[in-house]
Symmetry: C2
Subunit: 183 residues, 2 copies
Amino acid sequence: MRADAKRNYDRIVEVAREVFREQGYDASLDEIAKRAGVGPGTLYRHFPTRDALLDAIMQSWVQRVGEATEKALAHEGSARDLLVAWFEEYVRLISVHKGGPAKITSAMGDPDSPIRTKCQVLTDANAKVVERLRDEGALKDGVETLQVCRLIGGVATVADQSDLDETAVRPMLEVVADGLVSS
Amino acid sequence: MRADAKRNYDRIVEVAREVFREQGYDASLDEIAKRAGVGPGTLYRHFPTRDALLDAIMQSWVQRVGEATEKALAHEGSARDLLVAWFEEYVRLISVHKGGPAKITSAMGDPDSPIRTKCQVLTDANAKVVERLRDEGALKDGVETLQVCRLIGGVATVADQSDLDETAVRPMLEVVADGLVSS
DNA sequence: TGCTAAACGGAGACGGTCTCCGTATCGTGG
DNA sequence: CCACGATACGGAGACCGTCTCCGTTTAGCA
């Protein structure tokens, strides 16, 4: 990759991260190009689709997922509390910008999604947490890990679209956690 | 209202219902106008915004909500089963077209939404079901009815966006129901 | 330093939204 | 029955975002 190409690539990603956070996932790509000081052609050559750009933005995000997983697994307390804590992290992770929860959650299960690998990281992390609780016998039978992702993704999606804050989200996560642990 | 105006109004609503169902809530309004055999100007005069059109489409929907509520309240069986049955109806009701669950769920809590009255009908229906179970002492303490709408709206939203069928949705609704009933 | 492959970037086609205003139609009062 | 004013129609076109094509520029090697 030529030096000028790399410079533009990096700058576009940086600007896009900022603009997506400000305006959501539907922000104008031409505007991102303009703010990055490049022509639209340059942006679309590096990132043929909006999703390709999102994928690049999420490169660094993978690490944050790993850290959050460690933190959740290290949690001391009941299975229910561990679940709630993990769910809160989960929601925070996928709320990268307006439209993020919906985007990421619907990309799960779609093997052709451009952000497939990123979703995989997250579903794997979730599976690790859930499997551990299952091994401890703390969960109901028949709990599918992908279902858990979708449930929490759903909560995060409505929270995103209705501008709910953490105090409104928590009770919903608690309901889901209660519905998962064996009674 | 002049006779020709009413004719066009009705025809637009009818066509819009069809097109939204076929193509989702993001369908082109100019296309709807074209299919209805009117100019864009006519469509936008009757319905200044996309939401105004949605509101008109949902006029007849209110009745279906009423019927579904009756059906749910007449349910014989455990609180948990009643909840699951009602949730399934609820999901069906808000899945009027692609984008419907997200649209309707995010309109709840927004007092300025153009489909406010329609949402009110649904939230009231849900409250009726939930309150009845609460009176029977079948629910956990601290269950907010709006939270329930959001939880189920979330499930419906991911189902809509991931093209899940009923067999995939049901287990998630069961988790929520389990999380709500007192143990 | 000269050359070529690589990258740039902007003009513009396209499709959707929405408005303005000249034209056509309804339906009423004479 | 018909003329006229109010009402409604509808299409041309401005505007914006997406995305492409291709003439121009530049990096970096020999």
